[in-house]
Symmetry: C2
Subunit: 326 residues, 2 copies
């Protein structure tokens, strides 16, 4: 399995596409919007240069990509209206692996620019430029000291070390990722979800649809850290200070906006959750297990999730973290 | 006809694709390579900042795109070997309209990076970062004073005014475009080529395959200026000094590398020339005349070109111009 090649969101606009199944990611962006606004405002005040450079790591190709860009423009526009001055120009880099559907993102830019013009009628809009940056974020992405703000929402892994060099002094990072509410790793909600996925592959093995070696050689390097673990890692790096850290919870089913402990329709929720995970994981699973078992696999998974939800409504724990370069 | 939407090279890897039919453009890059090297070397010496920012306007999606990038890296690498010092990092922006096949370019980057590593074994390679910049170059593309070098090869129109603001002080532009050797506009080789194209559409009208109004409402805003006209325009703008200007000639048939006045196989040359023009113009013609007449149109054009070549071997006049910001 070549992660660089195979880890990309499902392309296109079909029912199983990431484009149609990215509401979970959208909810996180809505949740983190106030934090982002505060940070952008702080940076506007501190900025000496007329241009602010902002990078979205793992941008993918749904409308969410530009939702983040739009939030930054709004925050800067608000700052310009109140205080005028810098920044007058924004340089965005949308980063993802080369397999991402950048053509789709690029072709939606004109519509996006028009919508910004409409939204900000009369108000000050900073000039903004949007570039695509196709590369793994495990490597250096941009020149030394050239970036003011890195943003990453639901990119599964991150290594802050690699972004330190690219940030200007006082540069910031806003990171949103799946974490864990309690100390016990095994009781964590993320573990339960992937446990159900593993169960689903297991039953395909029992039915002879997937070879046992295929299952044994499959590894998803996922880990949901607790707030304390995150703090400890950042502290140890000695490169960043934590300016904000917050944990929020979001229902497994991205279309379930209810607050309580009841699952209204566990069958439908199971399907929604399976679609959402499939949009993220399909390319990886296709590469390893073959395309032919995908429908069966995610049907089983939807069913297993529904059974679980009948017993207990479960939520993801999501950590939002803001880091400032020391 | 929406130029922004319809003017893009033919995508994909088919026989009629730009990818397979861009040898004419490649020849210009080979021809201008020494000029480019000299300019990059000059810029390296003058550069105060560790990062050099380079923009390729109208980059398209064939191997030519990265051929230019490779030439710049080679020139900088040579400079570093001789003199060390700056620049240690290169930021490339590949610009084209949003309809360009950026995914193809991005997916070839890993192979490209590997080939650079192999070519420069042991020598100093500057770190380089490649971003895609989807936008019409009739608009501002990047923040004020952020670019050291603009490059444009065979982009049909250009407006230097719009690039002035983006260039750093002493920033340079290297522009290659179709021009004209002699004063008389009507005798120019470019006019003859498009005259043959127009003749081919005309005969489709006569056969009832294309409506006369369609032909009358079609306009290709192309003009091949002479060296004197170019000099006059640059002088008038008062924004740039011409550091170099040169005219060279290249056979209409990009696969004809011969020097003399003989056309070896006019039928084959006609086909080659038609394929080459089709790769550039197909999207425009499809949008205006419909896809159904394309084969017929370019077959007729190939035939008309062959007839012309039987009488006279004809060449494009190409102007390469280097401009320095005042």
């Amino acid at each position: 399995m070549k992660m660089e090649h195979d880890l990309h969101m499902t392309i296109g606009e079909e029912e199983t596409s990431y484009f149609k199944n990215s509401r979970l990611q959208e909810k996180a962006l809505v949740e983190t919007k106030p934090v982002l606004q505060k940070i952008v405002m702080e940076m506007c005040v501190a900025l000496l240069h007329p241009t602010m450079t902002i990078v979205d790591l793992g941008c993918s190709s749904s409308d969410n990509t530009l939702f983040f860009v739009s939030n930054v423009i709004k925050a800067v526009s608000y700052h310009l209206e109140k205080f005028s001055g810098h920044p007058t120009e924004l340089q965005f880099f949308l980063n993802d692996l080369p397999g991402n559907d950048f053509n789709r993102v690029f072709q939606s830019l004109q519509r996006f620019k028009n919508s910004i013009d409409v939204d900000h009628k009369g108000g000050p809009i900073p000039a903004f430029y949007i570039a695509g940056l196709p590369s793994s974020y495990y490597r250096r992405l941009l020149p030394h000291g050239s970036v003011h703000l890195f943003h990453s929402s639901y990119c599964l892994q991150w290594r802050s070390r690699l972004r330190y060099e690219e940030l200007v002094a006082d540069g910031q990072m806003v990171l949103t990722f799946l974490g864990r509410k309690h100390d016990d790793v095994y009781s964590a909600s993320l573990n339960r979800l992937y446990g159900l996925l593993s169960l689903s592959v297991q039953s395909l093995v029992e039915e002879g649809l997937v070879e046992k070696e295929k299952l044994d050689s499959f590894n998803l390097p996922l880990y949901g850290p607790s707030m304390d673990e995150v703090k400890a890692v950042v502290e140890r790096s000695q490169q960043f200070d934590i300016s904000r850290i917050k944990l929020f919870e979001t229902n497994w089913d991205p279309y379930d906006d209810s607050e309580g402990n009841d699952v209204h329709d566990s069958i439908q929720s199971g399907i929604n959750i399976a679609m959402c995970l499939r949009a993220v994981m399909e390319a990886l699973f296709t590469s390893h297990f073959g395309e032919s078992v995908l429908d069966e696999l995610f049907n089983k998974f939807a069913y297993n999730v529904a059974l679980h939800l009948d017993k207990e409504k479960t939520k993801y724990s999501v950590i939002t973290l803001s880091l400032k370069k020391r």
